[in-house]
């Protein structure tokens, strides 16, 4: 969420790329080496694009590149592809492979591929402590001898042995790969080596990728080969495949695993170690078909109490009523009135649509505490390892929306920020899944700022109002998801997801993560709040606001049954829906909304597109056409759903 900070390091003499399986601690090591913060969490797929930083050792400066986790360098999803492309390009001078010391098998499977590529590789055996706790002893010297690589045990979260990683930067000699495959495959490799285009990596590695049937290389091939060459590659691949009943990629991986298993037999010793930790107990029950549900409800309840009641209720109340309304705003007003006794400038700063009285009050007093509290809670959730377990619980529901449980990861991240979550859809394997999740994020997942305001407003009414709001939004999302699974062409993918161990979150990481995210929020949101306020200010001064309200009145007043002032909230809601929600919050505080109106207006604004930035991200990730279709669908649909909910609630008239 801070890619704009990561200006490429152009003058570095050489680049070290951090590569490894998902969730092994690459980003922690990146942070330790460069001093830059890359988001660190306890679930696979936190990093979906590269982060860059710099490192200086022995008087030389280097570039450090953090990459998304991979299980194979034949990519299965877009985030894996990002990593493969870095290695394929000319940026990578050396590789530091970060491994989970307790999962050497999967790590070494990647090592073999990196060595095949002819890259200088250094191994960091991270989470060395966790391996020890589980009775796994690794003979580093033997591993080093067998692989020919320098092996450095590390515990990145405790900064242990980070100083020894220097070696990786100065390592410029690749070892030769001794990995051999069945004869028919070796013959195919030989044939392809001569055709394959030249790249940073060895022709042999490229030939093996091509044999595995890596379709993500198509673009690269088209750029560097004639059509004839591409045809030859395909023909060779088919010829070799015809000699096996199983897919070549599978046979190649099996051959590698055989070598890896032989290696592990010589390197790893296991002793019985205590597994009865509280963490593994929670881990087990959080995916249990029965106990998982109360645990999920408990997590939601804690969120409601912490973010809604404590964050949006008490802290907002304090900041807004005490700090802003009692002291800051009157003080600013006095100062401004002293300088500009009357007129446009006074109104611009402290008027009804003033930059301080509206934009800053909303951004700092209402949204900021909410976002802060949410990110603390969310950071805790991310680092505990609970999120992938949630995926197990919801897999079935997601199946009927043409998705699988893995899609819950970007959806939950959307509660933090829909824009970033839209980018995280890269961890999903098929285009269909990415489109559906992007749509659902834009349509129904409220981001932290908005969620906090919403919870605050609902908590002021009753838990029943909260349930109606959440139920309506979830139901609408499900229906839209179900319908789009029928409409959007393409296939769903298999549900295969790594479940990390439950870990006690580190206070330091949560604080750091929250600070980075709050900073990012301020940078992202405040300018838009100011822009939105200016827009309202201009509308008001030119008396266009009245006209807009007049035009919107049949819809806002007639159809949604809301006071006409809600129109302003909806107008700024086009820019950022949390800003719109903040406007509704202010209306509620003034006693202008009854409980049903609160619920109806909140459901309507929840269904708006989150913000302009989100819209740009949709265009970037999904293309302009998809973005236009989604926008054209979402706004009228949001209005329609609000109206229908209003009718239903007025008819049933529940006591809220």
């Amino acid at each position: 969420m801070h890619k704009h900070e990561d200006a490429p390091i152009k003058h570095a003499s050489s680049n070290l790329v951090l590569v490894g399986n998902p969730n092994v601690g690459k980003s922690v090591i990146f942070g330790a080496l460069t001093g830059r913060y890359a988001t660190v969490s306890n679930y696979p797929g936190t990093t979906v694009e590269v982060a860059r930083g710099a490192f200086t050792a022995r008087g030389r400066s280097f570039g450090v590149i953090d990459s998304p986790g991979v299980n194979s360098l034949v990519p299965m999803s877009e985030d894996e592809r990002v990593t493969r492309d870095i290695l394929l390009g000319h940026e990578a001078d050396a590789v530091l492979q970060v491994m989970d010391a307790k999962n050497l098998r999967r790590g070494l499977l990647v090592t073999i591929q990196l060595v095949e590529m002819g890259l200088p590789v250094t191994l960091a055996l991270n989470m060395y402590d966790e391996a020890g706790e589980r009775g796994i002893t690794i003979d580093d010297d033997v591993l080093s001898r067998l692989t020919g690589l320098r092996v450095i045990p590390t515990i990145a979260t405790q900064r242990w042995n980070m100083d020894k990683l220097d070696h990786a930067f100065f390592n410029d000699t690749p070892v030769s790969s001794e990995m051999r495959y069945p004869q028919a495959i070796e013959d195919g490799i030989k044939a392809l080596e001569t055709i394959a285009p030249r790249a940073r990596i060895t022709a042999r590695a490229l030939a093996i990728m091509l044999l595995s049937g890596d379709t993500t290389l198509d673009g690269f091939l088209k750029r560097s080969l004639s059509e004839d060459g591409i045809r030859k590659i395909e023909a060779t691949r088919r010829e070799v495949q015809a000699r096996f009943t199983e897919p070549l990629g599978y046979i190649i991986n099996r051959a590698r695993l055989k070598v890896v298993d032989a290696m592990i037999g010589k390197v790893v010793t296991r002793s019985e170690a205590g597994h009865g930790r509280i963490a593994s107990f929670i881990g087990r029950y959080s995916t249990h078909p029965v106990w998982g549900i109360p645990i999920l409800l408990a997590v939601l309840f804690i969120m409601y109490e912490f973010v809604g009641v404590l964050g949006a209720g008490k802290s907002v109340d304090f900041l807004q009523r005490m700090v802003f309304e009692a002291y800051l705003n009157p003080w600013v007003t006095r100062v401004v009135e002293y300088a500009f006794p009357s007129g446009v400038i006074r109104d611009l700063i402290v008027g009804e649509y003033g930059l301080v009285t509206m934009a800053l009050t909303y951004a700092i007093a209402i949204i900021l505490p909410v976002v802060g509290f949410f990110f603390i809670f969310f950071g805790f959730l991310e680092d505990s390892g609970y999120l992938p377990r949630l995926a197990v619980m919801v897999d079935r529901v997601f199946k009927s929306m043409g998705l699988n449980g893995k899609a819950v990861l970007p959806m939950v991240l959307g509660l933090g920020c829909d824009t970033m979550a839209t980018m995280t859809t890269r961890i999903l394997e098929t285009k269909k899944e990415r489109v559906i999740v992007t749509l659902l994020l834009a349509l129904g997942v409220p981001c932290s700022a908005q969620l906090g305001v919403i919870l605050g407003m609902l908590a002021a009414i009753s838990w029943k109002a909260t349930v109606i709001w959440a139920g309506a939004v979830l139901f609408i999302m499900f229906i839209v998801g179900y319908a789009s699974s029928k409409i959007v062409p393409g296939a769903a993918s298999d549900f295969m997801l790594e479940i990390p161990p439950i870990r006690l979150p580190q206070f330091r990481n949560i604080v750091l993560k929250t600070v980075v995210r709050v900073q990012w929020y301020l940078k992202e949101a405040v300018p838009l709040f100011i822009l939105g306020t200016l827009f309202l200010f201009v509308l008001d001064k030119t008396h266009a606001l009245g006209a807009v309200e007049y035009v919107a009145s049949p819809f806002v007043v007639g159809f949604l049954n809301l006071p006409i002032e809600a129109t302003q909230a909806f107008i700024v809601g086009f820019l950022r829906r949390d800003y719109g929600a903040a406007g509704l919050f202010a209306l509620q505080q003034k006693g202008m909304l009854d409980p049903i109106q609160v619920v109806v207006s909140l459901v309507t604004i929840t269904l708006f597109i989150p913000c302009i930035a989100n819209l740009f991200m949709i265009i970037k990730e999904r293309g302009l056409k998809t973005a236009i279709i989604m926008t054209a669908f979402i706004f009228p649909f949001a209005a329609l759903m609000g109206g229908i909910l209003n009718l239903i609630l007025r008819l049933l008239n529940p006591s809220l």
Binding site: N71, D100, K102, G213, Y250, R254, L257, D395, D494
Partner: protein, 220 residues
């Protein structure tokens, strides 16, 4: 005991005709495969002389001896079908062709081994019953097949992967990248709402669709 291949074929069809509720000689001789085996009424008479069956007008009845031979042949045929469909993943047409020639070469010993490998399947791929063999009757063995889909294991069980039957290349590639290949040991943590399996120190969540394609030998 060597039985004429045509005799064996006829015995099998008498059996399957009987399953369909008929014992008509005319119906039997109408069957394509019976014609292909060049079996006609003279074959039937020869079989009657050998004491395999009795003929009475249009109806046909197996003798005890014929019954035993027919049962064994049917068992071989249907097990062969299962082996070819499930383990070798052949398509329906070639399964039929190969099962017919395959069955005649199977010794009782090999038949029982196949039966155990497949987990003593109660039916053939078409859903017809596979006659029980000696191996199935050994009570312990009957409930404990050697190879079974991972979905059959209970929570807390472990199994060593024997083979993975998947038509999807992408799925096999992905599984192998995670280290899930024949020879790997998987531990079942939970089966619902989705499968959670442990491989070494890695926990992985899967759909049941994927898990049922993984065939394992349960470890005690």
């Amino acid at each position: 005991m060597a039985v004429d291949k045509a005799f064996e074929e006829v015995l099998e069809f008498v059996w399957s005709l009987r399953e369909a509720g008929s014992n008509s000689i005319k119906a039997l001789l109408e069957i394509d495969e019976v014609k292909e085996a060049e079996a006609d009424s003279s074959t039937l008479e020869a079989m009657q002389r050998d004491g395999l069956l009795t003929l009475d007008n249009d109806s046909i009845t197996l003798t005890n001896k014929g019954e035993k031979l027919a049962e064994a042949a049917i068992r071989r045929h249907r097990l062969a079908e299962r082996l070819l469909t499930e383990v070798l993943a052949m398509d329906t047409d070639s399964v039929e062709k190969n099962a017919c020639s395959f069955e005649h070469t199977l010794s009782p010993e090999v038949t029982d081994r196949i039966c155990a490998l497949l987990g003593h399947p109660p039916t053939c791929p078409h859903g017809l019953p596979v006659p029980r063999g000696e191996c199935c009757k050994k009570s312990k063995d009957a409930v404990k097949p050697i190879v079974e889909p991972l979905t059959e294991l209970g929570v807390g069980d472990s199994g060593r992967i024997i083979f993975i039957l998947s038509g999807s290349h992408a799925r096999l590639d992905k599984l192998s990248a995670l280290g899930i290949v024949p020879g790997s040991v998987l531990h079942v943590h939970q089966k619902r709402p989705a499968f959670v399996l442990q491989l070494g120190e890695t926990s992985l969540a899967f759909d049941a669709d994927i898990v049922k394609e993984i065939y394992v030998k349960k470890m005690s």
